[in-house]
């Protein structure tokens, strides 16, 4: 892979296409989430009023769904090599409890400076990010399939009534899974992993950030060998 160094010791983490696709998915998902919550519970019905009323939310929701699933499918094309779960990920998984508890910070400063040596090194995405991707991918496909049935439910013959019921049931189930992933993703990307949010806006991360969080990836894109560090 060609070096992707940008200014002042920064590394390009997400190119423009990747950022655009990410935000297409993010913004369409947020619309789907808000209008979906209004349909999910009357407690959130006021959200549908904010979005232009119930019938408008109902009319726009499926189109947004098409945009979201298109973005997710494009991500699949774009990131599949980076999203495959590797044996190193399974090593990393063993220390996930320590990762969640930020225990790397309790290490001796010298040791901590070397980043994740205590954990298995991480490539472009860590296992949590990969789980999120696969969750959104499969839930997205389920939401698309069931959503299409619900979108055209009045065209479905009575003999296929079971399909309508199955879709009405699976659509909110898949929705709940994505909400779980979404909450953790937004929390990790903004509050916990500082630098994560700006990386998906501006595309760049500092080299030290990359070494700390994604050492295998940094070595790969800069052409450096792990031994040199």
């Amino acid at each position: 892979m060609k070096p992707v160094k940008v200014a002042q010791g920064n590394v390009l983490r997400y190119n423009f296409t990747e950022r655009l696709v990410h935000w297409t998915a993010a913004l369409s998902y947020i619309y789907l989430l808000l209008s979906g919550l209004a349909f999910w519970t009357p407690w959130m019905w006021w959200v549908a009023m904010m979005l232009g009323g119930g019938p408008v939310s109902r009319a726009v929701h499926p189109w947004m769904g098409l945009i979201f699933t298109a973005a997710v499918v494009y991500m699949y094309r774009m990131w599949l090599p980076d999203m495959r779960i590797t044996p190193t990920d399974l090593e990393w998984r063993k220390t996930i409890r320590a990762y969640v508890r930020n225990e790397e910070e309790e290490m001796h400063p010298l040791q901590a400076a070397r980043g994740f040596d205590r954990f298995a090194p991480v490539d472009r995405f860590n296992l949590g990010q990969k789980y999120l991707f696969w969750l959104m991918f499969w839930a997205g496909l389920t939401l698309l399939a069931t959503g299409l049935v619900l979108w055209f439910s009045d065209y479905l013959p009575w003999s296929l009534r079971w399909l309508r019921l199955l879709s009405a049931f699976l659509h909110p189930v898949a929705f709940l899974f994505t909400v779980g992933g979404f909450i953790i993703h937004v929390y990790m990307g903004t509050a916990v992993v500082r630098g994560g949010f700006s990386s998906v806006i501006r595309g760049e991360v500092s080299e030290s950030w990359a070494r700390y969080h994604h050492r295998l990836w940094l070595d790969r894109v800069t052409g450096a060998s792990a031994a040199k560090k």
């Binding site: 999910w40 009357p42 009319a59 019921l165 009405a168 779980g180 500082r194």
Partner: protein, 294 residues
């Protein structure tokens, strides 16, 4: 009684209990299918009273007006042909319309507040101005009743002439029926009447005659007397209709599990932040400190 208010006993997508507290006798329509002559006066009366636009009839090889009810045709006499074991031919006429279930699957499935209501007299009514056109009621109904208009993207069905009933009149179809096949009154009285008619039919040789008031939906506001009551499918009626398991789980336990998971997830991340806080990249922190000291 003039000016009597119909209160709402149940309302779709309501986060609080429905406001109705007054008791009212539950009304019903009794259809003695054995007395139906297929004259379709009820179809015409329904269209006229409700000012529904004329619907194109479709020839399907029987005397039936069209294959199915539509958004602007709420009451259809179905001409089912039935052959008994002894080779005799019967026309099983059925009045296809909203059954006004005591436990309405449409109302349970509906996500739009107030789009489907059940009055204290048992009538289930769609409020099209609150309808968002999602079609979940179509999934929730065990009788294939709600029909979506392609023009307005709203669902329509029989109102049991709630506008007439609320001022003490009987529904238009009942008024028009020439054979007393249709009667209207309190459900209690009509069920007694139905029982004696079933006994009469059994004496006349229809041993399977029965009242169709399915318990799976806690009974219906439209009760039928079927001469071949053991075989409601022959009339195009489901044998044991109920609000689907999928709807019950989705609107029951799943809703609570989901709400707890969503709120729990948000609280969980907040507590995690209080306990563990952000992750720091040591070198970046040093650089920041250096910047600040400069």
């Amino acid at each position: 009684m003039a000016g009597k208010v119909l209160e709402i006993r149940a309302m779709s997508a309501s986060s609080t209990p429905a406001p109705g507290i007054r008791s009212a006798p539950v009304v019903a329509k009794l259809i003695d299918t054995s007395a139906c002559i297929g004259c379709k006066a009820c179809e015409v009366a329904c269209q006229e009273w409700n000012d529904l636009p004329p619907e194109t009839t479709v020839q399907i090889g029987t005397y039936q007006t069209m294959p199915d009810t539509t958004p602007s045709f709420w009451n259809l006499i179905k001409f089912n042909e039935h052959e008994t074991d002894d080779g005799a031919f019967h026309w099983l006429l059925r009045k296809d319309q909203c059954m006004h279930c005591a436990d309405p699957g449409c109302l349970k499935a509906c996500p739009a507040p107030g789009a489907i209501v059940q009055y204290n007299n048992g009538i289930v009514d769609f409020q099209q101005d609150n309808c968002i056109g999602c079609g979940y009621c179509i999934a929730g109904c065990p009788f294939n009743v709600p029909k979506m208009s392609r023009q307005t993207k709203k669902v329509y069905k029989c109102t049991l002439c709630v506008d007439r009933v609320s001022v003490g009149l009987e529904p238009a179809c009942i008024k028009a029926c020439p054979t007393n096949c249709l009667t209207f009154g309190t459900k209690e009285v009509l069920l007694q009447k139905a029982k004696s008619r079933v006994a009469q039919l059994q004496t006349a040789g229809f041993l399977d005659a029965a009242v169709y008031d399915p318990p799976g939906v806690s009974g219906t506001g439209v009760v039928s007397i079927l001469a071949f009551g053991k075989n409601p499918e022959a009339y195009g009626l489901p044998k044991d209709p109920s609000v689907s398991f999928a709807v019950e789980i989705w609107k029951g336990p799943l809703k609570w599990i989901g709400n707890i998971a969503i709120v729990g997830g948000i609280i969980g991340t907040f507590v995690h932040y209080l306990r563990f806080g952000p992750k720091h990249v040591p070198e970046d922190d040093k650089a920041k400190q250096a910047d600040a000291g400069r």
